[in-house]
Symmetry: C2
Subunit: 87 residues, 2 copies
């Protein structure tokens, strides 16, 4: 994602890229209400792509950040699988 889009993402900037992410999350919400699996997968891919673009702009390693906070156990009480009360 970084090699592919970093030039355009840099031109657009953090604010513009965040706004695109928000729009893609809305589109994912609409796709979830439908029954078209292909369209749903495509919207998941878009949200992931824009989240990656934003992380690249902020110089954040998304995978590292996720594994740091969620190292195969619940971040609240370390239970695994998570058995915390539903929120």
């Amino acid at each position: 994602m970084k090699n592919l889009f970093i030039h355009r993402d840099s031109q657009r900037g953090v604010k513009g890229t965040y706004e695109w992410l928000v729009d893609e999350v809305k589109e994912l919400g609409e796709a979830l209400e439908g029954s078209d699996k292909e369209s749903t997968e495509s919207e998941f891919a878009d949200v992931f792509a824009w989240l990656s673009s934003l992380a690249n702009l902020m110089d954040v390693d998304l995978e590292k950040a996720a594994l740091n906070k969620y190292p195969y156990k619940c971040p609240k009480c370390s239970c695994s699988p998570c058995k915390c009360p539903l929120n």
Copy 2:
């Protein structure tokens, strides 16, 4: 993420999990306006975690969906790195 949270995610359901994702995206937006790198990374991790939870509930392989739509080239015209006009 699936092993860790699928039980709770299933209890919460698609709609509730999507709403959490939307909230986490808002929190990421707030973190982006600050200057705390650790907090920003934590919010990126949360958005990724909730996106993964939602994908698991919908039986969507997030990595596969992303690579399917973005196979190291622009999905619109196959340019790489992407040189499409800025949107």
